[in-house]
Structures are given as structure tokens and as C-alpha cells.
């Protein structure tokens, strides 16, 4: 490694200062506040505050609604990350085969990324609205009793579909770039070495995409955990019942709707710990299998 030398001792710190300031103000400060809040009990009007130690955590973790929320989050995140990555990979592989109009095709596939989460959610809600949804009608005529507003699993399917749909573009972009980085001669060499298309994909293309796939796995997990709030809020608002209430949505609901600030803060802290642990685990165990070219 080369060590950079600076003409002045203070200069490197000055150069780092803007980035550090942003991190401090927008991450460490709120995180610290959440940590502090999680140890306090406060009434909805902020008139009385009392230190309660870990009582908030104890209550939250003993709450069956919280355990339910964890289950919902696991199902939702895994389904969203897996479906959006799988479909994006399929589309990227197919887009590689196109000879004419490749750029147009790619551009069109990237557009959904520009749609705001809440709007994406509304679009899906309209399309699949049980009474007037254009796409709900064929579902009903196929004999499916389609009603995501009353049926928990169907509501889950709908938000997974909306969240995955929005993320497909992003994943597609990375997979396309990843596929382009694989030299054509490797595929040709494999073809001459007797591998059919499916085997070439499994033994050559997919392993060489591993760095991209790993990166997207981390990004998509974080996306599903946090950035899908808008979709859930617009489509189901956590319902019906609590069947689509993810951890993030519960933090919002308990803190800003029900004004149970201490519980909400405790949940934030737990969520933070979960994400840190998850990302660390991904780097520790999955990244080992990744070959960087």
C-alpha cells in the first residue's frame, strides 16, 4: 500500500470533515437519540420523562405482535430480495441475447426505478384493487377469491410484488453490467469444451457474477427492510390485521401513530442491531464463496 503524504497535518482531517459531519449529524446523532429514548418512558405529550432501564426492550420482545412482525419481515424481505434478483437476472441474461434494439430494451427496463415507492405501491393497489382493479378482474374470473384488503397472504403477495417490481430495474442494471464484464471468449471456450447453455450459465456465468450477486444481496436486504416503508404504507398500511406489519412499519406505527415513544425507540435499536448483524453475517459467510476476478 502507498501511504499518501500531506503537506500539512491538519489537511487530511479537513478533507474528511464534510463526510464525517454528514455521518455524525444524520447517523450517529439520531442513533444516539434512539438509544437514549429506548431507555426512557415518556408520555405522548413529552411532559413527563422517566428512566426505565431495559424495561422497554423487555416489553417489546415479550409482545406477540412484535414476534409476528419479525416473522412478517423475514418472509417479506426474503421474498422481495429473491424475487427481484431472480427476475432481474433472468431479464439481464435475455437482454444480452438481443442483437437489435438492445439499448432501447435496457432503457425501458430501467425506467421503473424512477418511480417513487409510494407511487409504485398505489399503482399496484389500483391494478389489483378487488373492486375496480384491471388485473384483479382476470384473477377473479379465474376463480380466485382475490381480496388483498381482507386476505393477509394476498396482501403480502401484493406488497412483495410491488416492492420486487420496483427493485428489478436496479438489479437488472447491475446484472447487465456484470454480464458485460464476462469476456465472450470464456463462454465460447466453454461451448467448445462441451458445455450446453444451461451448464455454461451454472458453471461459468453465475460464478463470475458472484461479486455482483453478493453486492445486490446486501443492497436488496437493506432495501426490503427499510426502503419499502412507502409501499407498505400506501398499499396495506400494515394490514389487514397485522399481516403485513414489518419491523420498520411497526416502529412508525408505535412511535408516530400510537405515540409509545419508548417502545418505538427500543424497536429502532433492535432493528439497528439486526441490520448490523445481518450485514456482518453476509460478509463473513457468503462473501467467502465469492470470487473477485
Amino acid at each position: 500500500m502507498n501511504r499518501a503524504t500531506f503537506p500539512h497535518k491538519l489537511l487530511p482531517y479537513l478533507l474528511l470533515a464534510p463526510q464525517l459531519a454528514v455521518t455524525l449529524i444524520f447517523f450517529y446523532w439520531p442513533a444516539g437519540q434512539a438509544l437514549k429514548q429506548s431507555l426512557l418512558r415518556e408520555d405522548p405529550f413529552g411532559l413527563k420523562t422517566q428512566f426505565v432501564g431495559l424495561a422497554n426492550f423487555k416489553r417489546v420482545l415479550a409482545d406477540p405482535a412484535y414476534v409476528n412482525s419479525i416473522k412478517v419481515t423475514v418472509v417479506f424481505s426474503l421474498a422481495t430480495a429473491f424475487i427481484s434478483m431472480a427476475i432481474a437476472l433472468l431479464l439481464a441474461v435475455q437482454a444480452e441475447k438481443i442483437i437489435r434494439g438492445k439499448t432501447l430494451y435496457r432503457t425501458l427496463l430501467i425506467w421503473p426505478y424512477a418511480v417513487a415507492p409510494a407511487i409504485a405501491g398505489m399503482l399496484w393497489l389500483f391494478m389489483f384493487n378487488p373492486s375496480f382493479g384491471t388485473l384483479a378482474y382476470p384473477l377473479r374470473s379465474m376463480g380466485i377469491n382475490w381480496d388483498p384488503l381482507l386476505n393477509g397472504p394476498q396482501a403480502m403477495i401484493l406488497i412483495v410484488a410491488a416492492a420486487a417490481w420496483k427493485q428489478i430495474s436496479y438489479n437488472f442494471l447491475f446484472f447487465v453490467a456484470g454480464l458485460q464484464a464476462i469476456p465472450q471468449t470464456l463462454i465460447e471456450a466453454a461451448a467448445i469444451d462441451g458445455a450446453r447453455a444451461a451448464r455454461r450459465f451454472r458453471t461459468i456465468v453465475f460464478p463470475l457474477l458472484a461479486p455482483i450477486t453478493f453486492f445486490l444481496l446486501v443492497i436488496n436486504t437493506v432495501y426490503a427492510l427499510f426502503d419499502t416503508f412507502g409501499i407498505i404504507h400506501a398499499v396495506t398500511a400494515g394490514g389487514p390485521g397485522k399481516s403485513t406489519e414489518t419491523l420498520v412499519y411497526k416502529v412508525y406505527n408505535d412511535g408516530f401513530v400510537n405515540l409509545i415513544l419508548g417502545d418505538s425507540a427500543a424497536q429502532s435499536v433492535i432493528l439497528m442491531a439486526i441490520v448490523i448483524a445481518l450485514t456482518a453475517l453476509q460478509f463473513r459467510y457468503i462473501e467467502r464463496r465469492v470470487h473477485y476476478g
Binding site: 469476456p183 465460447e188 471456450a189 461451448a191 467448445i192 469444451d193 460464478p207 463470475l208 476476478g293
Partner: protein, 360 residues
């Protein structure tokens, strides 16, 4: 082991014609080198044999079987690529075993065949390494090993040495030649390097603009080039080619007024016929004034060590140079010197002005 036969093979990309009908019969065990400048279609031709490019018309046969419609994996061939195309996530062993695994060979057979190839190529100690931990020459060997273990009907080489440095290239050239002699697999080898072409080939295919200009042994291609293009492409420095016409009494040729070369023993055609006269730099020798065919003026000198190249003019006030001479390195030559020269009568070439093909 197999023969390869190309019959009037053509390739068009839309309206753009790239290969204009190449026919070639390759005997079993033969080493054929396809050589030509970049863009002449030599790689495309090889890729058509490999099955990586579709054949627009004509047929390609490998081992007597028409393979036009067959996938690369069904053609029983192995290919060595210019950039080696090693699978970067696999060890050397897995790279070499890949084809055999695809063919569902037994573990013990794979281990045996990889071990044999590794021994032949001195890769034994590198089998666990990944390609990125290998030098260029080692990667080249692995690419060869990958072809070798499969024991295919034919080897196809696509400029395999052009990514190596000059010294390694000479060494690998000798190794490839020895290896091919050893295993006897029919080989097609594409290169733009005429030295590689001359040294490796049993027979050469000299390609230009999608056509095979000449298919013959290296020595024949050198001594009897079929066209002006071949004459200029094979041999370094290139053959001297000058416009000339048959002299008045058909006993010699005139290069320009007052400059004639007597060629009494050659059967020259009608007097006055225009033609292109060619002679290689190594077939012009310096002599005494009395015996000289011509007296040249040296315009520039390039010292190569063993030889010296003298760029000469027919008249001192000409521009550029008309002839390049290869003279022994010990001989002192300097710019401005008058050089009496003699042409080797057995090594003169004549080409048609229009078709640019060999006349005699």
C-alpha cells in the same frame, strides 16, 4: 485425429462479404497456418470451423462429417484463444478437467489425463493455482493443456502467442511445434506473424481480403509467391516490386529508360509488355562495377547486426527508395555511397500488372 475440408466457404454479415469462398483440404496430422494482415478474415474462418460463427454458404467437414449445423461441442475440436480464455474462478486442474467433466468421464480417467497433460506441459506444480496467479507463459500452457486433455479431432489456435513477449513467443513457438509433432493432432493455426507462420506450418494459407491467395508449403510460398500480395507479405523486409516492361528484343526487361536487366535464359513474352518485376532484398548482391547490372545510390541504412538493410535509389536525385538490399553486417555501407549490384537471376519474379498474379 481427422482430416478437415473446407469447400467454397463463404461468410456475409448482411450485405458485407467477409469470406469470398475459401477451399482447403487438410490432411490428417497436418499443421496448417492461416496467415494474413488484420481484417483479412482469417479469424472468422477459424471461428467458422469451430462453430462460433455461422457459415453463410459452402461446407466445413471434420473427419469426413459435414459440421455446418453442429454446435461447437458436437464438432470434437479444441481451441486455444488469444487471451487464453481460462476460467478465472477455477484452478488449473479444474480448467483442464472442465471439458472432460462435461463429457462425463470418470474421476480416475480425468485425473489421469490431466496429470499426463500437466506432465507434458510442465504444469505439475501449478495445478492448484488460479489463473490470476500464473504468468503469461504459464497461462498459455494451461490453455494448451485444456485443449490437449480432450484429445480432440483437431486443434484450432487463434493467435495464441500474440499476448506474449518476444522471447517467450519464440520458446512457445518451438514447444507448440514439438507438441503437435508429438501428439499428431490435425491443427489449424491463425496468426498475423509471418515468422510464426513460416516456422510452424506444414502448409501455409495466405489470406487477403477474404480470399486464400496461396496455399502451399512455406518454402514454396517464399520462392514462388502466387501474387504481389503474397510476395510482399511473406519475407521481411518485403520483396522489392517495381513497374517494368519487357525489353525490345525480349531478352531482358527495362525498368526505366536506360535501366535494363538482361535475362537471356528466360522465356519472356512479347516485347514491350508491361509487368511487375520483383526481387527479394536477399537476392541482390553487391559486386564490382564491371559485373554490375545496375549502380544504385544508398539513401538510408538500417543496421540489424547480422545483416544491414540498405535502402537504395536508382538515380541519386530520386525520392524515397527503389530497392532494399540485405547485405552482410560486416560490410560497410553508408548513405550516399554508390553501390554496383547484381540480381540473382534464379530469384526474380514477374507479376501481371492488372491481376497482380504471378506470371512466371
Amino acid at each position: 485425429m481427422a482430416t478437415i475440408a473446407l469447400k467454397d466457404v463463404r461468410k456475409n454479415y448482411g450485405r458485407n462479404k467477409v469470406i469470398h469462398g475459401v477451399s482447403l483440404d487438410v490432411a490428417d496430422h497436418e499443421f496448417i497456418v492461416i496467415v494474413g494482415p488484420s481484417g483479412c478474415g482469417k479469424s472468422t474462418l477459424l471461428r467458422m470451423v469451430a462453430g462460433l460463427e455461422e457459415i453463410t454458404s459452402g461446407t466445413v467437414e471434420i473427419g469426413g462429417r459435414v459440421v455446418n449445423k453442429l454446435e461447437p461441442r458436437e464438432r470434437d475440436i479444441a481451441m486455444v484463444f488469444q487471451n487464453y480464455a481460462l476460467y478465472p474462478h477455477m484452478s488449473v486442474f479444474d480448467n483442464m478437467a472442465y471439458g472432460l467433466r462435461n463429457a462425463r468421464r470418470s474421476k480416475s480417467e480425468i485425473a489421469l489425463r490431466v496429470a499426463n497433460a500437466a506432465k507434458m506441459l510442465e504444469l505439475g506444480s501449478l495445478l492448484d493455482r488460479k489463473p490470476r496467479a500464473l504468468s503469461g507463459g504459464q497461462r498459455q500452457r494451461v490453455a494448451m493443456g485444456r485443449a490437449l486433455v480432450r484429445d480432440p479431432a483437431a486443434f484450432l489456435f487463434d493467435e495464441p502467442l500474440s499476448n506474449l513477449d518476444a522471447k517467450l513467443r519464440v520458446q512457445m513457438r518451438l514447444e507448440i511445434k514439438a507438441l503437435q509433432r508429438n501428439v499428431g493432432t490435425t491443427s489449424l493455426y491463425v496468426t498475423h506473424d509471418q515468422v510464426e507462420a513460416m516456422t510452424l506450418a506444414d502448409r501455409l494459407v495466405v489470406m487477403n481480403e477474404g480470399k486464400a491467395e496461396q496455399i502451399d508449403t512455406p518454402m514454396k510460398v517464399y520462392s514462388k509467391p502466387a501474387s504481389v500480395f503474397v510476395a510482399g507479405f511473406i519475407g521481411s523486409p518485403a520483396m522489392n516490386i517495381l513497374e517494368a516492361h519487357v525489353g525490345v528484343d525480349a531478352r531482358g526487361i527495362a525498368i526505366r529508360s536506360g535501366v535494363t536487366i538482361d535475362l537471356p535464359e528466360m522465356n519472356l513474352p512479347n516485347a514491350g509488355m508491361p509487368l511487375l518485376f520483383g526481387i527479394r532484398p536477399e537476392h541482390i548482391s553487391v559486386t564490382s562495377e564491371e559485373r554490375a547490372d545496375m549502380i544504385l545510390t544508398v539513401a538510408a541504412v538500417e543496421t540489424l547486426g547480422a545483416d544491414t538493410l540498405a535502402h537504395c535509389r536508382m538515380a541519386a536525385n530520386d525520392k524515397g527508395s527503389d530497392f532494399v538490399l540485405r547485405v552482410p553486417g560486416m560490410m560497410p555501407v553508408y548513405a550516399g555511397q554508390r553501390l554496383p549490384v547484381m540480381f540473382d537471376r534464379k530469384a526474380v519474379h514477374f507479376f501481371d500488372v492488372k491481376t497482380r498474379n504471378r506470371l512466371f
